[in-house]
Subunit: 343 residues, 3 copies
Amino acid sequence: MSFLRNCWYVAAWSKEVVGEQLLGRRILNEPIVLRRLQSGEAVALQGRCPHRFAPLHMGKIVNDDIQCPYHGLRFSAEGACTFNPQAPEGPTPKSLQIKRYPLLEKYGALWIWMGEPKRADPALLPAYDFLEDERLARIEGYIYSKANYELMTDNILDLGHVDFLHETSLGCEATARAKTIVAVNGNTVRCDRWMANDFQGPLTSVLFERVGQRVDAWLDVQWDAPALMTLIFGMTDVGGARETGLETLNVHFMTPETETTTHYFWAGTRSFRTDDHELSAQMLEGGTAAFTLEDKPMIEAQQAMMGTTDLFSLKPIMLAGDAAPVHARRTLARLIEAEQATG
Amino acid sequence: MSFLRNCWYVAAWSKEVVGEQLLGRRILNEPIVLRRLQSGEAVALQGRCPHRFAPLHMGKIVNDDIQCPYHGLRFSAEGACTFNPQAPEGPTPKSLQIKRYPLLEKYGALWIWMGEPKRADPALLPAYDFLEDERLARIEGYIYSKANYELMTDNILDLGHVDFLHETSLGCEATARAKTIVAVNGNTVRCDRWMANDFQGPLTSVLFERVGQRVDAWLDVQWDAPALMTLIFGMTDVGGARETGLETLNVHFMTPETETTTHYFWAGTRSFRTDDHELSAQMLEGGTAAFTLEDKPMIEAQQAMMGTTDLFSLKPIMLAGDAAPVHARRTLARLIEAEQATG
Amino acid sequence: MSFLRNCWYVAAWSKEVVGEQLLGRRILNEPIVLRRLQSGEAVALQGRCPHRFAPLHMGKIVNDDIQCPYHGLRFSAEGACTFNPQAPEGPTPKSLQIKRYPLLEKYGALWIWMGEPKRADPALLPAYDFLEDERLARIEGYIYSKANYELMTDNILDLGHVDFLHETSLGCEATARAKTIVAVNGNTVRCDRWMANDFQGPLTSVLFERVGQRVDAWLDVQWDAPALMTLIFGMTDVGGARETGLETLNVHFMTPETETTTHYFWAGTRSFRTDDHELSAQMLEGGTAAFTLEDKPMIEAQQAMMGTTDLFSLKPIMLAGDAAPVHARRTLARLIEAEQATG
């Protein structure tokens, strides 16, 4: 199995990399160590020492460099060896270099580029401006999942599952009755649902203060390669303009650890009751519960049942809701194929 | 490694499948879901959804159908998709069919046929009438074992181990001194032991109220393919006719989960003190202890030491007691070979 | 991966094999059972029964023989079957023989010979006379490690790590400033460090009662195939003769369980304060803590990062301190190659 390399993946939420702490994380099967310089700049380096392959995240910061926990080699933010205790006077060999990965801090996240460094272009990162809009209230979470990342994007792209998997939290019959439009635009796949004059699910009805009321609601999902997704959920009065309603704007970013394990980063913002910290706490708790207790066990069970990461080799029966996931899978496969053909 | 497919395996004890509960169980490496209809009839279906391979046993019963836990597809007892929430008005495609396995409820067990359904003939199930004889007291148990099923049939077919592995519970020197007759009759292998005028082991002496007494005793084991066994243990006065004595009639049914893991179903009946529920409880506890604390760890350790499931490849030294196990292994190998030649 | 076979490995500390206890231990991937005869002589036998591959260490001693826990076969110290309960009158077949491994008890350890028995020559065991010098105080330990044994000999042969991995226990800058001499003499590799007029680390300064004092100190490591090492650490007054100082003499013996797991035996002796049992307890605690909490996690993490046991295939960058480890690795590789060429 191959991964798309020349693209941005979330390596961590910004808040995960603080002070002099070192964060070790495997991404696309490569060990990475994340840290901040005294300047505050975040840096991603190869996670294992080129000398004896010790995990650098077990080391510590010395003079703004990473010191290997085993034999004390120090590496700068650029990945150059700045000190070799076994030859403290002499020059450190050029070969004692560790790889530095392009890293971009944006939207409260650290974005890593796993492909050719010279092709790392910040402009290639899709826009998620709402994530750093200070007028909005924001929550975020991280979940480790024993499943392939495409199963996880499938999950968000086919929200036909909410009535069943999230029956008591998010589920409502409106999702199935929704008018659904799937659109492919270049490498972007969208799946928009419009639920007119219907009841919404338990948690969202509370959140939007519409318990027991019919509303017009929308649920718009967008996927960009490799596994970056926005999910907009909103509701308004029946017949009201969408602009008059309320929305949450959410992201779901999946980063492959390995073929069968995934780092799952999610965040949500809202423009209403933004000072209501208790509401934020409830939303964080509710989202964490839904993803951890409902999605995660199901997707991990699905992965275990599949016993492979190649979905199509198992000849799945396709339903209407698979249109968007299949578009995304084909787009990603095409991008990976193209990348490998040129690389 | 191959399994015999056109035969009956125990999928579960009848009592394990109750109400609207769904029981997921892997048999011959295939995921199965077991359930009862409102009529009480038990049904075995393919355990993973053909859409996205969710495990159906994590779902629930809706209108007497199984509803997939992930996207809500419903499947009837026949395995047909009866409802697709993503196209509630339209017909459900024929391809949305899950496999139904022939299932037979008999002797307090659910028997599954893993081979060609049209060849599933209830008459091919050996008779264990005593298991449903209401005049007898009955106990039963289920044990999950990390060992190949043939190691477990070997264990029952060579009871020469009881003096050592079950030294303080069932062991007695009489087993070694027994007159043993091994007989092969078609696909049935028997190993009968006659222990004349001797002392029996601690637990059985108590059970038959013969502590410290010499008795005539018998221990008759019968094996039928693939791994179905009866074990009759009885004793009577020295010189007395067998009919004048007391017996327990027991079964040991092994069902492969995988090559190296086994579902082990055992049951015992007795015709004496049938209303003595305390005795039943003691026998259940004693049997469970012997199988769980003595047999299971040994057979699992044996499997771990072997590192393969092909016993003969390791060139084991054969003792007298191996005659019956080897007959059974050869019979099963011959049946599997014949099945594959024709299939 | 191959192991050197015609050499002595530590199978256990003598004290681990006591009374009628059976010790099961896998060495070079082979299951071994260790025991003592009534005479006190220790014996190493094949650890699985040739009948049904039961682990013999789960059995018990009967009449000074090992009795198999499963079917009761008994094996003498020579590995001959002395009793077969399934044919108690008849002769036991010659084929019912288990392998006896040459075993040598010396230096408080049981040394096993995994190669051709006829080549097992006690003279091939390096001398560690101080381990049985009764004038010395002695401590010893055993640690199980999930890492290849050569990573563990590398660790001791390159003590450049102590300043970093053992920063708060053994570390001092003197190690890096030491005058280091690496010498290869036949199949022996030495790495001797001389630290003149310098401060030593926290624990050792306390041990030698030299806290806050400059001393002359030495740290001499010797490696012999396959993975037998001595480590001598001593200190004396600045400018004083080495003979006027104090020393600890230590051994580190690594025995491969598998390619990626190791039995690690270590011991230390000292010639001073030999009756101070509290000091012995502190040294045992300190050594155990350093090896268990500092070395072991690092070497296991290193192994996990490597994902292979062939260090050179990963093209490690070499530092000065790697001279001795690389000499040892090449010596061992040459010995294994020679053994396989002739065998």
